[in-house]
Amino acid sequence: MASEQDDRVSRSRYEREKAARKEAEALLEGKSRELFLANQSLSQQSEILERTVTERTSELRIALDKAEAASAMRARFIATMSHEIRTPLGGLLGMIDLMYGDETDPARRELLEYAKTSGDALKRIVNDVLDFSKMEAGAFQFENEKVDIRALIGGVLALAAASMPDGESRLRSSISPTVPPIFAGDATRIRQVLSNLVSNAARYSADGQIELRAFASEHEKGALLRVEIEDQGIGISAEQQKNLFKDFTQVPNKLTSAAQGTGLGLAISRRIIEGADGRIGVFSEPGVGSTFWFELPVEVLEACPPSKGEGKARLRDVKARVEGARILLAEDNKINQKLLLTFLKRMNVSAELAENGREAVEKFAPGKYDLVLMDVAMPEMDGLEATRIIRDSWPAEKIPPIVVLTAHVLDAIHEDSARVGIDRVLSKPITFGDLRDAISEELGAHGNPDHHTPRQFGARPAIFAHLSNPILEGLIESMSENEVIALVEEFVIDARRLLAAITANLRRGESEAAAAEAHALKGMSGLIGALGVSELAGQLEQSAAYLDADSIEEVIDALSGQVDTLDRALSASIE
């Protein structure tokens, strides 16, 4: 009986199961609904979030635009102020200068001297504040140009020496051969840091040596330049060192009670060095002295000269290619003429001289020359114009390579040169080796091999210590020592003449003529390797138009000092 009943469930049990299932299904639907609603509120929230993000982003964009506009306005304001403050200040200082020159009463002269000192201090403050504001406004931009740190240091020290009573004897520099001759950087800013550190050293030490040292070590970017400036001055306590590179801080100085500036110098230097990915710092002991240093990673453009013995085989090829070539040289400057003609003679090249662009055009005929060397800046007709006329007058295949020489470092020259059909631009100062390499490359491979015997040197004349080594080596490769000395003698005479002309032109307010003469001086001094003169002349060329009489006089004094030094060394060499 039980077995018959076993496969059937009772009605009430069936109803219970049915009810349970209905409840389970209802629960499931309920959960589904909850899930749906939760999902919906989530997507609503994410939508709100997205909308908020969009709103915030647009608010930020507006705020950023406003900030940028404000910053641009600030930069414009600073640029305007820069001009507005500097111009009357320049006038003021100029007037004081004139009055000082005319004044005979010693008491009044003393008053004018105070006025001048205060004016100079004000000028320095204005320059510092303007630099600082530019940095704050983000208007401070780093140039990337060729830097010759040796010339730069020479220029800075010459200027510093001129403004110190016993500068010549107190300032020393040593630059390690590891420092690359040319690297990429912002020459103006590096000069600014150098002169700031050097003038600090001078201001905070009454006597004792101030020594500037430069080294370089390997760095992933090329080289790590390290410059140290050591003084034997009052020193800086550890407490003061902490704040030294902060804005508007100064170490109290008992040495001078005159206006000291804004305390921005080191802050500006720090921003410059750090802005160029470098580091700056100081070691100091109160009463003993301070050593300020900075390190700057630099991209090497011209490596240190290779050790002797390398490149001999290549040299023979280059020499062979150049020998016997017929070259037309267009150059107006007498010193350059002499130098380049000597170079060419040494290369066993038959060179013909044209005094200017017009003469070059007249002398030129197809088949007559294997190459034309052309200066850019020449009277009557410049090198670019001459090149254009030659290119227009003859079919291209009948024109030999045209190489121009220029002391301009401007890109514009390169662009112009390309437009008129110049094959290569060489920058002055050019060394013998560079000129020969360039001529050789342009001529292509032909000619006879030649055997080169290295020259032996005796004791070097004293003047050579004052000339840049790579350039000097180039000169000696092509001339006798006496010829080099004669060249420098001629340079000294010419440089004195140019300095006098520059001074006269500046007095007459003809700054453009003065700048042109400074440019000529820069080119000449670069050619013979007087890089200190070249650097200062370059500064003068760039700033003749806007510097006040006072600053210009400082540069000219420094230049005269350098020329005098060369002259003295010459006398020693001749004896």
Binding site: R21, K22, E25, L28, E29, S32, R33, F36
Partner: protein, 181 residues
Amino acid sequence: MKGVVFVELLAMAEDAFGEDVVDAVIDKADLAHGGAYTAVGNYPCAELVKIVDAFSDHSGLSPDLLQRKFGHWMMGFFAQHYPAFFENKSSSFEMLEAVDQEIHVEVLKLYPDAELPRFETDRTGEGQLQMVYSSPRPLVSFCHGLIEACVERFDETAEIAIEATPAQNNSTTFRIDITGR
């Protein structure tokens, strides 16, 4: 097809023919799920047609008639279990218009993958509603039953004409003329 339709179809059959008959018919019909369905599941529509045909064989009533009767049954089920849809509705037309616009919206919340038929409505005149039913499933008579039951639920009477929608496959047009309320 939602499981609730299968569950209710079997409930109606039990009500009409008794549990024993339903058991026998299901056994005979050879159904993939053995006739076990849950309201929250999904099952092929062909199985529903098979069940209707099986009961038609058993009872001698036509499948269309059974579908219509099932439509009436389902309207009762809806009214009992989802009274919220019937609140605030004063006429059968309002209810029919709400199928696509309200009811199916809610269904999709619970069953996002449900394949729902479409019911486009258009009031063509005073007391006249045209309802176009589009579905790949052959459940025209079931819809007919639902519409009839809906009209009755709002204490109305109507004439309902059925015709294939011109130039549209799987689509049927119901023309509903209210004749009294």
